[in-house]
């Protein structure tokens, strides 16, 4: 399941981070998401061929001992990071979830009262992300039940 979801700005500045498991060490997830930026750079900046249309879903960025980090990058270089406690059994589900998160992010930033580059404090966005995470968990659970 997704234990942490984060949105990182184009300047690698944190816009949103939320954990979905009870933890008292949120800084650890900050470090994990922060570290994933290096992997994003490796995948996007270093390995992209000239003229290649990049895939927004980056897949597995890197694994840690406990977690697996997946990424998604928008055309404006905003990164959506999902930290999973296991390898995703169906990456298409995860890609779909991240894409939905992307849509929610676009909706949140379309708010005229939102200052671009500022942390996302929208309650609607948080609820949307929680819904997406919950939907992914249910889909994975259903998949595993089969």
């Amino acid at each position: 399941m997704i234990v942490c979801a984060a949105v990182v700005g184009a300047q690698n500045n944190p816009l949103y981070l939320r954990t979905f498991i009870p933890t008292d060490d949120e800084a650890k997830f900050h470090c994990i998401v922060h570290c994933s930026l290096d992997a994003v750079e490796e995948k996007v900046l270093l390995r992209r061929a000239p003229g290649e249309v990049p895939e927004l879903y980056l897949g597995l960025l890197y694994p840690t001992e406990e977690y697996r980090v997946y990424g998604y990058i928008t055309n404006s270089h905003t990164k959506l990071i999902a930290v999973l406690d296991e390898f995703s059994p169906r990456e298409d589900l995860l890609a779909k979830a991240l894409k939905a998160m992307h849509a929610a992010f676009v909706d949140a930033t379309s708010c005229p009262f939102y200052s671009f580059g500022a942390p996302l404090t929208s309650r609607l966005f948080a609820e949307e992300v929680a819904t997406i995470v919950g939907g992914y968990s249910q889909a994975v659970a259903q998949l595993q039940q089969r």
Partner: protein
């Protein structure tokens, strides 16, 4: 020796195989910082070229290394601190070079009394390293006792004499070749003596624990297939060859090593000894690299090239960081903290006790362990990047390559691919064994480091990350926690090399957690946590021992805050904050106050915006607690502290009198004078856009110009301090942080010289054992102290205390400092002291609008360069005089010039400092106001005192106006300023002469300069104020003894001096004004050509005062004073023909004196004559001091052929005569004339100047007309002395004597006046005559100011306006001013004897008035020859020619009846009548126009002027009488007779005169002739 602790070595690289490990152990007490200093000195020489070793290498037996590159090879040493040296690796049998092969014992003699005991202890320590080939005991800084003890021949004792750090460096440089030669001999002997029997086959590498079960299975299968004994033998031989290869490699012979490795590789492959085969492959790769480096490093230029590349890299890093620090490029494992970390490179310092659960020191080692864990040492700021990068540079000509040069050489050699293949193959052999995980990880780390170094971080990132990823997967499989920890940290470090700073941080985060399981004391966790706070290393400078040591806080501070491009991940503050908090927690648990201080300061400095105020308060309390526990030497921190943010606002310019100026040729200011001479680029003369552009360019140039200070002067710098915390911050001392070009900085000076709470730096010896903490150590490294001392000797600082409010509002603080010696300074920040700790805050550009915590809001401010000039003298000017007393610079400003005093106090605070700055600038533009009066002459004295300590060798004085132009100087040679001159004129010539005589002016000496000023009219456009600046520009004596003039006035030469300005504000008060000038005629009787001088009354006593006199001055009052010139009607411009006032009173003949009242109105144009009391008027006397005419009347008469003997005998010596015009009663004229004796009678007219003066001031003045130049007092008055009340008007009369005779200046040697310009016919121009008059006559005044000594009276001179004088100039005045060469005088001759009564010369004034004759412009009596009707009168016309040429004249004598025109306008004369010509009354000047033939000018206003009037008949030739007048003083005479026919008043004059040309050639040319007319009164 300690037990085996680890398998993986920190800092392992492809070069590690070629390094000789040397234990650097301390013997006896050695302070930690001193130990670091010694270690740093040895690290700077850890690469020793073989060329230096060869001379000392004694080849007792044939060397086993036949391919040693003696010219290009090198030995590479790795000095291990004792903690690390005592740690043994588990793979010592596999890699011989990982054992300690040499021991250096360090004895710090100042703390060791018994050198012999120390030597014995060293012996015990050396024996604890059984594998050591060489051991030496090095004693530093010995005393006499130590030297005496060393003389007894202690074995392997090396004594380094005490001296400067440079001396230590030289000693180490000289010691290293000998040491290496011994090492080389040891390795050679080992190789020669090594045998296969000593090779072990049951090492740790052969154990199942290391190789794993799969390897055991494979070995068993192989054993079944082959002969076991044969395999063992091959293994032994293979391992022996591998060991020999290792020894050959560390001995600097890579080719021999390669040979051995290849042999060993083959044998190991055959024997199935896979680990040794892989090790041989790795050794082969290392040998290949070493061979390539040896090939590239040959030649003398290699070291220089490597140094240059290292310097470039450091400079690029400094530019990237923007702080001028090479830290950004910092390679290696990062400073001393890295040395203390278990993850550090082998020589960088051991992990200390933290890396091993075993005790750090073996009891049998004898040497006590370090009392505290490895402390952090701060690098020397004086060590330049080049020097730092040179750390490993060996001496001698061809040194090994280090830093970027090393990697470039490898890339150029093209060995990367070959080496990579060998490493990959080796990794494959490791994998064959199935185990050997640590070796696989080491292999991957080596490979990744090689890729990063050769290809660079970006290009090697993908491949490197793949290697590291594989290595990272193996880490959890390591059996030893220590190996896991080291591997984790090493992978993290290499990831940092590849540019993955975030991954590095995450791995270090994980390592911190792991370290707590390894070391319960949390020291290890602290070291890794602080490592996580450092920026990543540079891929091109990986070796930390080749870099200067820096504390992690300094390395982190060198990276700009919140700049993601420079510090990846820095923008994610929560992550950084978490790392910093982890470090702080670890420091607290490890009981390290230094690291706790640094971590707490880091949190407050970078992340205060995220912290709650209570948390901030807690951090401040933690800082205070840590500061209280800091050791004495650690109180001076080299890095930044918790704040505040400091921005250099401006370097406060010194006061004008202290500012240095560049004096170019001619004494002008080279820097301040230029810039405005560019012409306009457009068609217009003035282009406002161009002007604006030039101003902007000038302002930009002024801003970019390097500030210049003078050594010994106190300077001020304005700094803005901002406290971003939510709590107020009290700073005990804030001082500037200044770096000197000689090295070092003045941070220590700031604390030391201030008396501030910051402690003085204790002596180096005191640091022993006081550096506490788990890894800190803020003391200066190697060259730091001398650098700081140099800076301290260059600058004296005066700290101030300040309390900064919360919220980030900048507070302006003025920080004073005094540069002490010339050179280049750089202001890099401020040194702040609080809680007893002094730290350094770099300069930061504070945002104007954004909050301080906004990302990207803060940027580093470049250091401010300042040029310090040599000491300069200091002059103090004292301007004193009766009216002024000015001292410049002000006496209170002298305190600001400290003269190099060590800024005491420092308790000024912000307000105090600001006040000081205001005080310094307060004197700017404040000019002393001096009250002066128009026309005043001032005599001041300017005293220049040299108050400095340098002699003044060059000095100029200039008097300037506010626009910078020189003030008009007084004319030289007695010339006068024009009457219209406004402002002030200064005579500085005498001052300059006195100044030149006084130079050079030594210290504490004075020179007094006279200064004369003349005050002109108040300027109409500046509110009667005139600003004058006395600018004194001076410079010291040239240091090289050159001529002073060359220093400042030579061609292109430029000297540095100072400029002292004495500003003055002169408030000019108006005094007197001459509203009108008129010329009057005074009839003077002549007898035999001599002036008749009756006993008279002094004209001055007659007093043309306002209460009486010939002309009564009408008091027009204050209100009408201004209009008195014209509206009063008394004085009117004669040019208007409106001199309506008759000067003569119409009193009865001889009855009363005249007292003219000129209270005429302008409308009536009529003078109202008043009759004064007879008695009083009778006493009116006119005194007129006249100069007897120099025309030599009598002499001319004597020279005239046929002249009367009496006339000839009378002579006429030039003398002054006095004429007393006694206003006698009727009939008194006869007595006055005294004509009873037979004599030639006549009269002449003198010209009198009448000046109307008005007092425009509100003061009382005493005034008179006086000759110029002359005595300023009233003694030389030419007129009456009158006293004028405010607003009063007076008329002053003064005789107008010929200037040639009257001017005493001519006798005083003054240059002669220029002759007046002449117009047509030789007649002088009126303007020229007027100018001559005003040069000789002026209005002097004295102010009546009560009881004042005569010498202190305020006196002045008001000039007459030549234009006004020229307007009213009469022919008589012209004649008086410019006598002609030809003069005609008509005299009445006495009748022949006994023929009857002779003519009498009488006062005909009353008669003329009775007859209604208006005699305008005549003053005094009118003298005339009295005849009876029917009485004949013998006349003689006498001519004198003072010219050079003879003249042939033709003249006509005419008679004018003066009463003829009286009937037309009896009484008043009529303004319309041309009676204003005083010549009509028989004046002196006759400008004859012969062609006109008329005597209009002569008798204008007189009717019937022809050869004979009806009342007076001329007999004899009177018309066109030819006369020849010889030149050169010759004369001629013509006689005729007049017969009186009718009573009346007549005048005889030359009516026409013309020149007939030479010898009477004919024609008639006009001539300029003056004449004395004769009046005849027929009764």
């Amino acid at each position: 020796m300690g037990s085996v602790t680890r398998t993986i070595d920190p800092g392992i690289s492809i070069f590690s195989a070629a390094e000789i490990r040397v234990a650097f152990v301390q013997i006896g007490p050695v302070p930690r910082d001193v130990y670091e200093e010694y270690l740093d000195a040895f690290n700077r020489h850890r690469h020793v070229p073989l060329s230096n070793v060869r001379e000392l290498h004694h080849e007792t037996v044939k060397t086993p290394f036949g391919h040693t590159p003696w010219k290009s090879g090198a030995l590479h040493l790795r000095f291990l601190p004792d903690d690390d040296a005592r740690r043994r690796t588990r793979v010592a049998d596999l890699h011989v070079q990982r054992t300690v092969l040499a021991v250096l014992g360090v004895v710090h003699c100042p703390l060791v009394e018994d050198l012999a005991a120390a030597h014995a202890e060293w012996g015990r320590v050396a024996r604890s390293f059984p594998d050591a080939l060489v051991a030496r005991c090095v004693a530093f800084a010995p005393g006499d006792a130590h030297l005496a003890a060393a003389a007894h021949g202690m074995r392997d004792l090396v004594v380094f004499p005490a001296g400067a750090p440079s001396h230590l460096d030289q000693h180490v440089e000289a010691f290293m070749p000998e040491f290496c030669a011994a090492l080389l001999a040891g390795t050679e002997g080992w190789v020669l003596n090594a045998g296969v029997a000593s090779v072990r086959l049951n090492t740790h590498v052969d154990s199942a624990e290391f190789t794993g079960s799969l390897a055991a299975v494979q070995e068993g299968l192989q054993r079944l297939n082959t002969n076991e004994e044969e395999l063992r033998e091959k293994k032994r031989w293979g391992r022996l060859q591998k060991t020999k290869g290792d020894l050959a490699l560390i001995s600097g012979s890579p080719k021999d090593a390669a040979d051995h490795y290849k042999s060993g590789l083959e044998l190991s492959k055959i024997a199935g000894d896979t680990v040794w085969a892989a090790a041989a492959l790795e050794g082969l790769a290392a040998a290949r690299v070493a061979d390539a480096l040896a090939a590239a490093g040959g030649g003398g230029g290699s070291l220089k090239r490597s140094l240059a590349l290292a310097a470039n890299a450091a400079a690029a890093a400094a530019a990237a960081t923007g702080a001028g620090s090479p830290v950004g490029s910092g390679g290696g494992a990062g400073g001393e903290a890295a040395a203390a970390s278990p993850s550090a490179r082998p020589g960088g310092g051991g992990g200390g006790d933290g890396a091993s659960p075993a005790p750090p020191a073996s009891p049998r080692a004898g040497a006590p362990p370090s009392p505290r864990p490895q402390s952090s040492a701060t690098p020397s700021p004086s060590r330049s990047p080049v020097k730092g990068a040179r750390g490993g540079g060996g001496g001698g000509g061809g040194g090994p390559l280090i830093g970027p040069a090393l990697w470039e050489a490898l890339a150029a050699a093209g060995v990367e691919e070959e080496v990579a293949e060998l490493l990959v193959e080796a990794r494959g052999w490791y994998r064959r064994k199935g185990g050997a995980l640590p070796l696989q990880i080491e292999n991957a780390l080596k490979h990744a480091r090689l890729l990063a170094g050769v290809r660079g971080a970006r290009d090697s990132r993908a491949a490197g990350l793949a290697l590291l990823g594989s290595a990272l997967e193996l880490v959890p499989q390591l059996t030893l926690l220590e190996d896991r920890l080291v591997a984790l940290v090493e992978v993290a470090q290499v990831m940092g090399l590849l540019g993955c700073g975030r991954k590095r941080q995450l791995l270090l985060w994980a390592a911190v957690d792991l370290s707590r399981a390894v070391d319960r004391s949390d020291t290890l966790a602290l070291r890794i946590a602080t490592r996580a706070l450092e920026p990543p290393d540079d891929a091109r400078a990986q070796d930390p021992d080749d870099l200067p040591r820096r504390h992690w806080s300094q390395r982190r501070a060198a990276v700009p805050l919140f700049d993601p491009t420079r510090s990846p991940g820095a923008a994610w503050q929560s992550v950084q904050l978490a790392a910093a908090e982890a470090a702080l927690a670890a420091a607290r648990q490890a009981n390290s106050p230094i690291e706790a201080w640094e971590a707490g300061a880091l949190i407050l400095r970078e992340h205060c915006a995220l912290l709650h105020p209570q948390y901030q308060q807690g951090l401040l309390d933690a800082l205070a607690a840590a500061a209280a526990r800091l050791p004495q030497r650690a109180l001076l921190r080299r890095g930044p502290g918790p704040g505040p943010l400091a921005q250099l606002r401006r370097v406060t310019p010194p006061p004008p009198w202290l500012a240095p100026v560049h004096i170019s040729a001619g004494g002008g200011s080279g820097k301040q004078g230029g810039g405005s001479g560019e012409g306009s680029a457009g068609p217009f003369i003035f282009n406002p856009y161009e002007e604006k552009r030039q101003k902007g360019a000038a302002a930009a140039a002024a801003e970019s110009a390097v500030v210049e200070w003078v050594a010994g002067d106190q300077c001020r710098v304005e700094v803005a301090l901002a406290n971003p915390l939510a709590l107020p911050l009290r700073l005990d001392a804030v001082a500037l942080l200044v770096e000197h070009a000689d090295g070092g900085d003045a941070a220590a000076a700031g604390g030391a010289g201030s008396g501030a709470p910051s402690p003085d730096r204790p002596p180096r010896q005191r640091a022993s054992g006081e550096d506490g903490g788990g890894g800190g150590g803020g003391s200066a490294g190697g060259g730091g102290e001398p650098g700081a001392a140099a800076a301290a000797a260059a600058v004296s600082l005066s700290p101030v205390a300040v309390t900064l409010p919360a919220g980030g509002k900048p507070v302006r603080v003025v920080l004073p400092l005094t540069p002490l010696r010339p050179g280049e300074l750089r202001i890099t920040g401020v040194a702040v002291t609080a809680w007893g700790v002094t730290w350094r805050q770099p300069l930061t550009l504070l945002p104007r609008l954004a909050p301080l915590a906004a990302p990207g809001a803060l940027r580093a401010q470049p250091p401010q360069p300042v040029r310090v000039l040599p000491r300069l003298p200091m002059l103090r000017a004292t301007l004193s005089g009766p009216d002024v007393a000015v001292v410049q610079p002000p006496p209170d400003s002298e305190a600001g010039r400290s003269g190099g005093g060590a800024g005491g106090g420092g308790a000024g605070g912000a307000g105090g400092s600001a006040g000081g700055g205001a005080g310094a600038g307060g004197a700017l533009g404040k000019a002393a106001a001096v009250q002066v009066f128009e026309g005043q002459h001032l005599a001041w004295s300017l005293a220049l005192t040299n108050t400095g300590d340098q002699p003044v060798g060059f000095c100029t004085l200039a008097v300037l106006n506010p626009k910078g132009a020189p003030v008009r100087a007084l004319p030289q040679g007695g010339a006068q300023l024009p009457a219209s001159f406004a402002g002030v004129a200064v005579d500085a010539a005498a001052a300059e002469a006195a100044l030149r005589a006084a130079l050079p002016l030594p210290p504490r000496q004075s020179a007094s300069l006279p200064l004369a000023l003349v005050v002109g009219r108040p300027p109409a456009d500046s509110f009667e104020e005139v600003a004058v600046e006395l600018r004194i520009t001076y410079a010291p004596l040239p240091a090289d003894g050159a001529a002073v003039a060359d220093a400042a006035g030579g061609d292109g030469a430029e000297a540095v001096g100072r400029r002292l300005s004495v500003p003055l504000r002169l408030v000019i008060h108006p005094t007197l004004a001459v509203t009108a000038v008129r010329f009057l005629a005074l009839s003077v009787p002549l007898r035999d050509g001599r002036r008749f001088a009756p006993p008279g009354v002094n004209l001055r006593d007659a007093g043309l005062t306002r209460d009486g006199g010939l002309y009564r001055s009408t008091t027009s009052g204050r209100g009408s004073a201004a209009g008195g010139a014209g509206a009063g009607g008394m004085v009117r411009n004669s040019s208007e023909g409106a001199l309506s006032a008759s000067p003569l009173s119409p009193s009865a003949l001889g009855a009363l004196a005249r007292q003219a009242s000129l209270a005429a109105s302008q409308q009536q144009h009529q003078a109202r004559l008043e009759r004064a009391e007879a008695q009083a008027a009778a006493q009116r006397q006119l005194w007129l001091e006249v100069e007897e005419q120099t025309r030599g009347d009598d002499a001319a008469a004597a020279a005239q052929p046929g002249a009367p003997a009496a006339a000839a005998a009378s002579g006429s010596p030039t003398r002054r005569g006095q004429l007393a015009g006694a206003a006698s009663a009727s009939g008194a004229a006869a007595a006055a004339a005294g004509s009873s004796e037979a004599a030639a009678l006549g009269s002449t007219l003198d010209s009198v100047v009448e000046a109307a003066v008005v007092n425009r001031s509100d003061r009382y003045f005493r005034t008179w007309l006086a000759r110029l130049p002359g005595r300023p007092g009233a003694e030389g008055a030419e007129s009456a002395v009158v006293v004028l009340e405010p607003g009063d008007t007076a008329r002053l009369l003064a005789p107008m004597l010929p200037p040639d005779t009257a001017a005493p200046a001519a006798a005083a040697g003054a240059p002669p006046r220029r002759p007046p310009a002449v117009g047509a016919h030789g007649a002088p121009e009126r303007m020229a005559c007027a100018e001559r008059l005003v040069e000789a006559l002026g209005l002097r005044w004295e102010m009546i100011t009560g009881d004042v000594a005569p010498d202190r009276l305020q006196r002045g001179l008001v000039r007459l306006a030549p234009v006004d004088a020229a307007h009213s100039l009469t022919p008589a005045a012209v004649s008086a001013l410019c006598p002609s060469q030809l003069h005609v005088r008509i005299v009445a001759l006495p009748p022949p004897a006994a023929t009857g009564p002779g003519p009498e010369l009488v006062d005909a004034t009353a008669a003329a008035q009775a007859l209604g004759v208006r005699l305008s412009g005549v003053v005094g009596q009118l003298w005339a020859v009295r005849l009876q009707v029917g009485q004949p009168l013998a006349l003689e016309v006498r001519l004198t020619n003072a010219g050079e040429a003879d003249e042939a004249l033709r003249l006509s004598i005419a008679v004018a009846d003066l009463t003829a025109g009286a009937g037309g306008a009896p009484g008043d004369g009529g303004a319309a009548r041309p009676s204003q010509d005083t010549g009509g009354a028989g004046g002196g000047a006759a400008a004859a126009a012969a062609a006109a033939g008329a005597g209009g000018e002569l008798v204008a206003g007189a009717a019937g002027f022809d050869g004979g009037d009806g009342g007076l008949l001329l007999t004899g030739a009177s018309s066109r009488v030819p006369l020849a007048v010889p030149g050169a003083g010759g004369g001629a005479a013509h006689r005729l007779t007049a017969l009186a026919l009718r009573p009346g008043l007549y005048q005889l004059a030359v009516a026409d005169v013309c020149s007939r040309g030479p010898q009477g050639a004919g024609g008639c040319a006009p001539l300029y002739v003056t004449q004395d007319r004769l009046c005849v009164l027929v009764v």
